[in-house]
Amino acid sequence: MAEPLLRVRDLRKHYGEGSRAVRALDGLTLNVEPGETLAVVGESGSGKTTLANLILGTEHPTAGSIAFQGGPLPAKRSLELRRKIQYVQQNPMTTLNPRRTILQSIRLPLQTHHLRPRAEQRGRAAELLEIVGMSAAYLNRFPRALSGGQRQRVAIARALAVEPTLLVLDEPTSALDVSVQAKALSLLVDLQRRFDLTYLFITHDLSVVRTIASRVAVMYRGGVVEIGPTREVFAAPSHPYTRMLISSIPVVSEAEQHLKPAWPWERILALGAGDASEGCAFAPRCPFADEPCWREPPPLTMVGDDHSAACHITTGMVVPADKDAW
């Protein structure tokens, strides 16, 4: 296999010191291959956004390494590295400066990276708007005159202005209505093909992942608990947390309902709190947790082609008592 575009090894980010430290990332390892869309899925507090910040260089890791195109990402990034890795954030209402016109917002990265002479910037900005499906008439407007979906398109246009290699998308569609989200997803798929982009797509919503990601990494409490090709992870989820996530997606047809794994919701409600400081972080919420789960954290183990999960059920140390629920 070719060199991965992004290579993350045993990445740690702790806030605070000693036993009271918040371990936002706790030994995260993953690769992002050139041209793919890797979805990073997890609930709030799982460390998704911390991962984005570390890749973008706005925060620095406590330990571990990130390599980009074969070379380590330094704390102080060159202009070239900053150009290659671009970012689209979640909230379309706060992503654009309200006192700048759309033209000013899109032109800024062109100026920062010395990409076009001043005379060509307006034309390039118009071209970028057209690429994201908006007319050049918006160039002189302010963000307040735009809908959430349009603002998100502008944010994408601004990221594309510098011709990046990797786009870190942090919940890019979560604040949008479903009909607008659908349009934004199609746009992202289309742009990826056109400009040979690689996406790191961060989301808490597993349902959007299936149609757009080639691979998916499921995060829980600062680590990857399952990673593999999207098709496989959805067809045969191997970690209980992945199963729980997929089974909690509300679907709109009977056929889709059958694609969801069984999950013992009633038993989840009755689970009490437990101390997971030694073992698997998911044990307190896991209906299948057994003695080994409380004792030692499960390693990430291969369960299929390019598909791994970190669970004692897959290592064979725990056998689920309730076969039907599993």
């Binding site: 009909s179 709109v252 409600l269």
Partner: protein, 321 residues
């Protein structure tokens, strides 16, 4: 016997600097006793203000309301505030989107639950009632939760506290505005499961407000689809999902990402209209692939199946038109 909740010809207008914003454009809606009804629509369609109107929380000078909201035969819009307060919190309760925003961070859970319990029939042992209410929402250590401040509990636990709070006075009607959506998907699923189970046991009616069609399918008996202040389609839930008729309902369904991943969701072109100058007739027509000049006139409901009504020219036979 009349339905528990009957909304007739309801209009809501806001007087704004830009002009009059016509946010709800004459909706009719029924909730029968023991029935779970959903209103589904996207942001800005008027679903949340409908709930606020029912609760009497929109009494501002710039709000103009027409029509009636009858609860158990009494028009809530005509009630004095004191009479409304007797109904609200006892016979009608609400669960909102974000539990952290609904609970007061400076009071312990028990203190907040007690004030609700005391609004019901005078009860001597509020603590025992509160404890039992938390156990019903599957909280295994009610004493710890009752003695905690909301910020000491997880979002999921707070959400369950709110459900317990909304049910403790055995209300006839629960208004649920996107319950749990501010939290993680797994919590949302648990919230719906609990609400469904508990309201079924008590035969309470629920009016659920949501933007999520999947949630509607799992929770509601009957559904109203709302677009830009109008109800465009209404049907029993299985019927709506089997035979969606209005172009907006169809487009909304096609926008939902699929688990099979066979196709990309489609989405809808254009955007929700400005309510100070909404489109004439069917408000969806500027975005509708099936629109003709006929759509510039108001579209009355036509029946397309049992209890299945659609406000669209496509389903009206000519001699009625």
């Amino acid at each position: 016997m009349p339905a528990l909740l009957e909304i007739d010809r309801l209009h809501l207008r806001f007087r704004l600097f830009e002009g009059i914003s016509h946010v709800i454009n004459g909706i009719d809606l029924r909730v029968e006793r023991g029935e779970r009804v959903a209103i589904v629509g996207e942001s800005g369609c008027g679903k949340s203000v409908t709930v606020r109107l029912i609760l009497g929380l929109l009494q501002q000078n710039n709000v103009l309301v027409e029509g009636s909201i009858r609860f158990d035969g009494v028009d809530l819009l005509q009630l004095k505030r004191a009479r409304l307060r007797e109904i609200r919190g006892r016979r009608i309760c609400a669960v909102f989107q974000d539990p952290m925003a609904s609970l007061n961070p400076t009071f312990k859970v028990y203190d907040q639950l007690r004030t609700v319990i005391q609004r019901g029939e005078a009860r001597r042992d509020a603590y025992a009632v509160a404890r039992a209410a938390l156990q019903e929402v599957a909280i295994t250590d009610p004493d710890r939760v009752l003695g905690a401040y909301p910020f000491q509990l997880s979002g999921g636990l707070n959400q369950r506290v709110l459900i317990a709070m909304s049910l403790v006075n055995q209300p006839d009607l629960i208004l649920a505005d996107e319950p749990g959506t501010a939290l993680d998907v797994t919590v949302q699923e648990q919230t719906l499961l609990l609400m469904r189970r508990l309201t079924e046991q008590r035969q309470s009616s629920v009016l659920l407000i949501t933007h999520n069609l999947g949630v509607v399918r799992e929770f509601a008996d009957r559904v109203y689809v709302m677009y830009a202040g109008n109800i465009v389609e209404q049907a029993p839930t299985p019927e709506l999902f089997a035979n969606p008729r209005h172009p907006y309902t169809q487009a909304l369904l096609a926008s939902v990402p699929t688990l099979s991943g066979e196709r990309l969701p489609e989405g809808i072109d254009g955007m929700v209209p400005d309510y100070t100058s909404p489109p004439e007739g069917c408000r969806f027509h500027p975005r509708c692939p099936a629109a003709t000049s006929v759509c510039r006139r108001p579209q009355p409901f036509g029946t397309v199946g049992e209890n299945h009504l659609v406000a669209c020219r496509l389903y009206r036979s000519e001699h009625h038109g």
